[in-house]
């Protein structure tokens, strides 16, 4: 009899303890991200959709050296380089990237391209909404990746 009473008592104590924990947690602030109603909170280093940068004059930083394409473990970067001429200057270097495609159906967002780039032309942005019904739309062209020029007066609302 005493044994059973002890057992019942212990069960009640552990139950009370457990419910105490759930009750405490009821009073804590929720940690849920309210995406898509609110923007997602990324850390500064988050590796999202790439951004191709420009220098202060608005010239493209990419000099078409193919180092990002060579470093990429997923082979998702396709580049065609062309020579700059005095009449038509795209980048500060000798060459520029005439075609710069990133295939986001292959990209694994590892950051090797950013590490490899000798001119800091490519970095990861914070964009991530890549979902699409058309897989061909996942091949982003240079125009989609480039920083806009002249830079917009104020940042767009969703960035």
């Amino acid at each position: 009899m005493a044994f059973i009473l002890k057992e019942v008592g212990e069960t009640f104590i552990t139950l009370a303890k457990g419910f105490g924990v759930t009750f405490r947690n009821m009073l804590r602030k929720p940690v849920t991200e309210n995406y898509p109603d609110e923007p997602v909170h990324f850390q500064a280093r988050y590796r999202g959709i790439h951004v191709l940068h420009r220098d202060e004059q608005g010239l493209e930083k990419c000099v078409g050296c193919f180092l990002c394409a060579a470093a990429c473990p997923a082979n998702c970067i396709y580049i065609e380089a062309a020579e700059n001429t005095d009449a038509k200057r795209i980048s500060a270097g000798e060459r520029y990237a005439k075609v710069y495609n990133i295939d986001y159906s292959r990209c694994i967002f590892c950051g090797y391209c950013v590490e490899a780039c000798p001119t800091d032309a490519i970095t990861h942005g914070h964009g991530f909404e890549l979902a699409t019904y058309d897989i061909n739309a996942l091949i982003y062209r240079k125009e989609q990746l480039l920083e806009p020029w002249p830079p917009p007066k104020r940042a767009p609302l969703n960035s």
């Binding site: 850390q43 280093r45 950051g111």
Partner: protein, 398 residues
């Protein structure tokens, strides 16, 4: 389902497929159970549904590119895989990593261990019917993922370690984030304990279930908490220290009961030990110092150097276009991953790509113990037993 009549006893047995879609098989594991009523007579595990050919893919990548593949083996502890692979290649090259990088590596892998154990505890508990533990565990894991995102840029596929050190200098303020986590977490472990350790349902579902004695455990090659729950105190961190683990003070928690409950207690104790290691590492990490070893032609030079010095720029180009060629030879490097002894066997033929990369995946080996756990027990115990091994199918199938 198939029914066969046992010719000796005249009773009927049934073959039942559990998985690969069953939620409690933690991915795509299929267990073929031969049942007599609800009792399991025989269990056979069918694996390979998540075969991705990572080992083979490594042969087509340069040594540093292959790091990104290792993330995807045990996707709950990507940094452990990164670390093991990097250590293996560093051994092949005879490369010494700066102390600062070693301590940061230790800190981050211990954080991953906590994160991985939290997923294990959450899913194991939800399998056995304790919903709230699952939610609480994932909430705390989120904090770890935030730290990983802060440091490396990605929550899960971190690829943060590089051959010869780290990819990037950790951002300012990261140690404060770790500090916050370390301050908050002990009370959370206590909450899990309050919910489970003495809970009668939890005890009934785990105590005496999935028994494995030390002799069988060793014979099956089981490692990690699954082995330590059977009373064998084997931990690679203690026996074959790597990445300066010999400078840290920690216990190897073991239990002798060898059942699911013992393994649960071992893992909970490991959470506390990991916290202890993290605290020591925080004190040890020097504020400044190199994060990559000096090895021209193997480890990329600092960005500042690369932009100012011609020689560094040439090395930078060479490393990213061709990679580097270790001397021909083969190495095996093991570490203690959250699941057990994770080993990378890397063979080089002197070219910039590994000739062979073989992974000794702890989940794969530990899964062998499943028939031992479940034979003679009820179907409901199979769920508990799969949970207690803590398998990650990405690693089992590779």
């Amino acid at each position: 389902m198939a029914t066969t009549v046992n010719t000796i006893t005249g009773t009927q047995t049934m073959v039942l497929n559990m998985g690969p879609q069953h939620p409690s098989t933690h991915g795509v594991l299929r267990v073929v159970l031969e049942l007599d009523g609800e009792t399991v007579l025989k269990a056979r595990t069918e694996i390979g549904y998540l075969h991705t050919g990572i080992e083979k893919s490594c042969e087509a990548k340069t040594y540093s590119q292959a790091i990104t593949l290792t993330d995807r083996l045990d996707y709950l502890a990507p940094l452990s895989n990164n670390l093991c692979y990097c250590l293996a290649v560093e051994k092949l090259l005879g490369l010494e990593v700066p102390k600062r990088a070693q301590y940061i590596r230790v800190l981050l892998t211990e954080l991953t261990r906590i994160g991985s154990h939290l997923v294990w505890l959450g899913t194991h508990a939800i399998d056995l019917g304790a919903m709230s533990v699952f939610l609480y565990c994932f909430r705390e894991r989120e904090e770890i993922l935030k730290i990983l995102e802060m440091v490396s840029g990605q929550r899960m596929m971190t690829s943060y370690f590089r051959i010869g050190g780290l990819a990037l200098e950790p951002p300012p303020g990261w140690l404060a984030a770790v500090e916050r986590f370390v301050g908050m977490f002990p009370s959370r472990i206590q909450e899990y304990e309050d919910l489970l350790t003495k809970n009668r349902i939890w005890l009934a579902r785990t105590q005496g279930v999935g028994k494995l004695d030390a002799e069988d455990a060793i014979a099956l090659g089981v490692s990690g908490p699954t082995l330590r729950g059977s009373g064998v105190g084997y931990d690679v961190r203690k026996f074959f220290p790597y990445s300066s683990y010999d400078e840290f003070e920690f216990e190897v928690p073991t239990r002798t009961e060898g059942d699911c409950y013992a393994r649960y207690l071992v893992r909970l104790a490991e959470l506390r030990e990991s916290l202890r290691i993290i605290r020591q590492a925080m004190a040890k990490i020097p504020a400044e110092g190199p994060i990559r070893s000096e090895a021209p032609g193997i480890v990329p030079p600092d960005r500042e150097k690369m932009k100012t010095e011609m020689e560094a720029l040439i090395y930078h180009f060479k490393i990213f276009t061709e990679g580097f060629s270790p001397p021909p030879g083969e190495v095996y490097q093991a570490i203690e991953s959250p699941r057990g002894e994770l080993g990378f066997y890397v063979a080089s033929d002197g070219s910039p790509k590994p000739w062979r990369v073989k992974v000794r995946a702890p989940s794969f080996v530990n899964l062998q113990a499943l028939p031992k756990f479940v034979e003679g027990r009820l179907i409901a115990d199979v769920v508990a037993c799969i949970g207690t091994i803590d398998i990650v199918l990405g690693e089992v199938d590779r």
